[in-house]
Amino acid sequence: MMLSALILIPLVGTVIVSLWPHHRPAKEVGQVALLVQVLSLVGAIVVATRFDIQQPDLQFVESLPWIDALGLTYQLGVDGLSMPLLVINSLLGAIAVYASAATIQRPRLYFSLMLLINMAVAGAFLAQNLILFFIFYELELIPLYLLIAIWGGARRGYAATKFLIYTATSGILILGGFLGFVWLGGTGSFNYDATLAQSMTLWQQGTILIAILIGFGIKIPLFPFHTWLPDAHVEASTPVSVLLAGVLLKLGTYGIVRFGLQMLPDAWAFFAPWLAVWAVVSVLYGSLAAIAQTDMKKMVAYSSIGHMGYILLAAAAATPLAILGTVLQMVSHGLISGLLFLLVGIVYKTTGTRDLTVLRGLLNPERGLPLVGSLMILGVMASAGIPGMVGFISEFIVFRGSFLTFPVPTLLCMVGAGLTAVYFLLLVNRVFFGRLAIALPSDKVEPDVMLPPVAWRDRLPAIALALLIVVLGLQPHWLSRWSEVTTLAWRSPSVAIAQPPSTTPPSMAGFAPLPFTPDVTDD
């Protein structure tokens, strides 16, 4: 029941929040929602503390038959891949609720949608049944659409619809892929089973993999399926952007790793070199596009596209270290992009603009946003992979794990890491250094720039994320320990051979030695 609780807490919270009596003050709605999110975070932490890191396979498995005829089982479980993502989901969910304005319009609907997203994402990470995953994956789409369409910026209708069309397409492709699993695999159950693909030909596996790659590629997003993301980010409010970048994109990378790498190993290995090229294109495209942006939020959004490419590279390389890198990069990107979006949100709220051509000198100690500016510098350093922060750890592990398998793509992705420094230095240099200004110079005589102070309430979530980024950067083991054994078991011949067949759980049996597993044993 422990895992079900992670789904039930936000679900019950959604009901409570949406039914919160109207005669009660509106700000209570937000407080209740925050309480629910904190409870769900506590729940995730409890699961994490009971999680046996020595155990490579699924833990706390729950299984209830649901619709047998469909092969739909309510089957949950957690392993080293999903454990950190569960915690990040609850953490960023709590931060998003906390960072929402107390005066938001229609708070009952807003906060219940927020909780619904939290619940759907937790469900998707926990699901051990393809249809169940799909249900949660689609369920998350609707509240996010509404959050953008109702509380978004000026072009929210356009952005939300674009998001909906893209993600619905992604859903159709994924559903098609999942159906293919069962039909071509010849079983009646949609439960996760790494042996599903064993009986398929490479062509069959490849067809399914392409559907899944494009489906999740839209979600991640990877070039050329990315165009919905910058629009959605620009129109979404700050907390929604935090959720979108920090949590929802991870569904895409999680899907690729889980269903592509883990469940279609032959086709994955066949396509891997091309996936690495795709990763490079995505990384370089995202980074170069970020350089050209003049909207801070768009720049961070394109940076996300670049940084998600690393995950595809590492997944393509599929060494144990690289797979560990995918998990770390998911977590670190969640924390860093969450921080950056929070800070951009504060800048926008205080100055009324995100225009890089207009904003200057926000680091001004007296009249600017010195603390926000300092955190921003820390955030962009983390994003650019400066040692001492979690971004370095994850990117280093990704590159280290992928280099021997795909040296050239890895080097090109490292160029992308260098480009991160380029565009974020442009951002920091323009917006935070120099003389304070929030409008273009004019001939009109105007009083000196006066920005309202930033409340500690607004700074607090950003400070918390910044602390996590530094702490996990200095003590990466606290992050990697959850996934090391799992990712090692996936691709390490020695471990797989050492395990007698009887103790190998069915879900892991398909990950025994593969002929083309890159031979990286020094990690």
Binding site: L436, V445, M450
Partner: protein, 384 residues
């Protein structure tokens, strides 16, 4: 054929873009609008400035008199009173930033101007200076060698000491003037900006002919460096060069704006510098390495309650107090400039003689030319 003539009448030149300000000055008003808030800000900040100036002046004179030709004056800011407590306070930086006084002194020394500058280049000064240096170096062969190797170095140090002393004497007068102003405001005997300006102008005029002298005592002998016979006076030899150097020209200090001197973003003509207090941008103040920050930090310790309360009512409250102090300070410096210009008018402002009126107009117009790029327009605004 008609001879070439210049038929422009003197009246025709009354079309300066800042003509309203010229007229205000001629009517004994000020460059700063006369509002209740402005009076509160200007008097309040000058009160605090008075306290700080007094500390600066005492220290400048101490350095001039007692740290004469010391190449490593480690304890120059201690005024001769070196205790552990003072040392700790110094390191803790909760102290008067005497560095700012030296910054102003060096600005004056560099821009020069006035009788003091001229006298420091005279033969008479050179001889006095040599005698003082010889007396000071007696028995110190190391310094004697240095002096022989670099014969211009120590005289330049002595010139700097003379500026230490000159600025100290100037500020002593100004400090007292500002504190009296504050007392008069507290007694409600000064309630408007023109009255503030009149008070300062009267103070400057009263002290105008105060002699500026400087002598040092070396081994019991007194050596005159600026003797009374040189005829240096308060107004023309310290006040006017000070206003020129610190209010108008200033220095393009390092800050958030970078100047590229090689492409002449800084004028090669020193007299066209416009980086002084009347041009200063208050917004970067508070950042490290921006000299006015030191002064503003000093002044925030001595703000009268009414001014501190006023600052707290601002949007950022205490957070941007140094910027707010700079804004008030700039306003007060426009008042001091008003007083100085009125005091220096070639003819009485009320004169009816057209030629004298034209001379006054021309005099003020040349100063207004220089104020065109100053913050004059911004201090006219009512918003803070």
């Amino acid at each position: 054929m008609l001879p070439m003539t210049n038929t422009l009448s003197p009246n025709l030149v009354n079309d300066h873009p800042l003509q309203p300000f010229i007229e205000r000055l001629l009517k004994a008003e000020a460059l700063l609008p006369d509002t209740e808030i402005n009076v509160l800000e200007v008097v309040g900040i000058l009160k605090s400035y008075g306290v700080v100036l007094d500390a600066y002046a005492v220290n400048l004179k101490y350095i001039a008199d007692h740290q004469f030709l010391l190449l490593f004056p480690f304890f120059k800011y201690f005024n001769g009173d070196i205790t552990l407590n003072k040392l700790l306070k110094h390191w803790w930086h909760d102290r008067i930033n005497y560095e700012y006084a030296e910054y102003c002194m060096r600005t004056m020394l560099w821009h020069g101007g006035g009788g003091l500058d001229a006298y420091l280049d005279s033969d008479e000064f050179q001889q006095n200076c040599d005698r003082a240096i010889q007396a000071k170096l007696k028995g110190n062969w190391l310094m004697q060698t240095l002096h022989r190797l670099f014969p211009d170095f120590l005289p330049e140090q002595v010139r700097q000491s003379a500026y230490y002393s000159g600025l100290g004497q100037f500020w002593t007068v100004m400090s007292e003037m500002f504190l009296t102003l504050s007392d008069l405001y507290d007694q409600q005997r000064i309630t408007s900006i023109p009255e503030v300006v009149a008070h300062i102008k009267d103070g400057l005029v009263a002290a105008a002919s105060l002699p500026i002298t400087y002598s040092v005592e070396i081994r019991g002998d007194r050596h005159d460096l600026l003797p009374a016979s040189a005829g240096l006076t308060f107004l023309m030899d310290t006040a006017v060069p000070y206003v020129e150097a610190v209010f108008f020209r200033g220095t393009p200090f390092l800050g958030t704006v970078s100047y590229n001197a090689q492409v002449q973003q800084i004028s090669p003509d020193q007299s066209r510098f416009a980086y002084g207090a009347l041009y200063a941008d208050p917004v970067p103040v508070g950042g490290a390495g921006i000299p006015p920050t030191l002064l503003m930090q000093d002044m925030r310790h001595f703000l009268p309650d009414y001014l501190a309360d006023y600052y707290r009512q601002g949007l950022r409250g205490d957070e941007d107090v140094r910027v707010q102090i700079t804004q008030s300070f700039q306003k007060s410096m426009f008042c001091v400039t008003s007083a100085a210009l009125q005091g220096l008018l070639p003819h009485p402002a009320t004169t009816e003689v057209p030629a004298e009126q034209a001379a006054n107009q021309a005099f003020l117009a040349t100063w207004m030319d220089r104020l065109m790029s100053s913050r004059l327009a911004v201090v006219q605004l009512a918003e803070r």
